[in-house]
């Protein structure tokens, strides 16, 4: 049984997992859907009440009923590198590939439906609350007055994109940024704005969950650091990530979150305050983990490889899949 990895060639983080799968003797087919019709091919037929299909890439051929798991890591847009790419062809190729894969009994990390839903930050915040994770006071609004009133209640705020996406034309990044006192909130009317109480943090926490396995790492905030630098991704800090113990109640809440989100993998970001409370910031369903493993030596790649290598669930192959592939 084969592990199918959907990702781009330059994804060296996926390599870290492939190395472990190779060592365990687990067959792997890695391809980028962007290469469909160029160097990746597919075929599936529905005849006499049965489905048979296969994929080929770089000289490898895999039967779709021989897949044990599908890891959706960093796939490109389907057929993006075809000889004559188009939005239509991308949709056709995407429907063909993912539609056929959904008809297999393979386990997903993560299922496309669960992934899509998990990207909604407002949904994340609500699910975190319901799961028992501490969530900083947050507002998402297009009402300038609501933003002003929120700022009155919580004078120390950060702003971040609702979607996490970055604007283009020209390309820009929008890090989580502290809102200065006396900010003019009139422009809130021109786009949904996410404002959140700033957590005066003493450390950033990156918690990586793979199935039921939870591995947390902690990066201390530099003493005397600039309180205006909120986003760890833009922090000049050179402090290393170190392994951290996860409070049992928080671990339970994380597992509850993953179960409800139907995710097999999640990279959680928390801000640790002076009391030691871990405040939920977000859960990225495809978050990076290589940098944590490199610093801490935690076996994240090996754990992912083990999850992917587990046997697929017993199921009636005639049934289309469901978005419930989170069992560890």
């Amino acid at each position: 049984m084969t592990v199918l990895i959907l990702t781009c060639e330059e994804d060296v983080t996926a390599d870290m997992v492939v190395v472990h799968l190779n060592a365990a003797g687990v067959p792997v087919v890695r391809l980028d859907p962007a290469d469909l019709t160029h160097s990746v091919a597919l075929s599936g037929e529905y005849v006499h009440g049965a489905f048979r299909g296969h994929l080929s890439s770089a000289g490898r051929l895999v039967s779709l009923d021989g897949l044990r798991s599908v890891w959706v890591r960093r796939p490109g847009e389907a057929a993006a590198r075809a000889a004559q790419p188009s939005a239509w062809l991308t949709e056709e190729a995407s429907q063909a590939l993912y539609g056929m894969l959904r008809g297999t009994g393979a386990r997903w990390m993560n299922h496309p439906d669960a992934s899509r839903r998990a990207r909604y930050k407002p949904w994340q915040l609500r699910l975190a609350q319901l799961s028992g994770l501490p969530v900083p006071a947050t507002i998402v609004t297009t009402f300038p007055q609501a933003a002003r009133e929120f700022a009155d209640r919580y004078p120390d705020l950060v702003v971040k994109p609702v979607s996490g996406a970055h604007p283009q034309d020209p390309p820009r990044a929008v890090p989580t940024t502290r809102v200065p006192p006396g900010a003019d909130f009139a422009a809130v009317a021109y786009g949904p704005t996410l404002l959140q109480r700033r957590v005066a943090k003493r450390a950033d926490i990156r918690l990586t969950a793979v199935g039921d396995r939870i591995l947390a790492a902690r990066k201390e905030t530099a003493p005397g650091g600039d309180p205006d630098v909120v986003d760890v991704r833009y922090s000049p800090s050179t402090a290393p990530w170190r392994p951290a113990d996860v409070p049992p109640r928080l671990a339970e809440a994380v597992r509850r979150y993953l179960r409800e989100a139907e995710l097999a993998y999640g990279a959680f970001d928390f801000a640790e305050d002076a009391d030691g409370t871990w405040w939920f910031l977000e859960c990225n369903q495809s978050g990076q983990f290589g940098f944590v493993e490199v610093d801490t030596g935690q076996p994240i790649a090996r754990t992912i490889a083990q999850w992917l290598a587990d046997a697929p669930p017993e199921r009636d192959a005639r049934q289309p899949d469901r978005c419930d592939s989170t069992a560890s």
């Binding site: 609702v162 929008v174 990076q288």
Partner: protein
């Protein structure tokens, strides 16, 4: 008419990035010029930051 959030935007990180390894379709891994598997060289990964969580990062759009 610019949304409030974009008041805090900054130029994106440079996305063009050259790595001292290349993808080997036969191995399904990235390999350095002298034939080593890049993923096994944690010092190299740390130096390049290619596995790092960075918005607008060198190789990925999200993290």
């Amino acid at each position: 008419m610019q949304p409030f959030t974009l008041n805090y935007a900054r130029p994106a990180a440079e996305l063009e990035f050259s790595t001292p390894y290349a993808y080997d379709p036969g191995m399904q891994l990235n390999v350095t010029l002298d034939g080593r598997i890049a993923a096994r060289d944690h010092a190299l990964l740390r130096e390049l930051g290619t596995t790092t969580s960075t918005a607008g990062s060198k190789t990925h759009f999200d993290d």
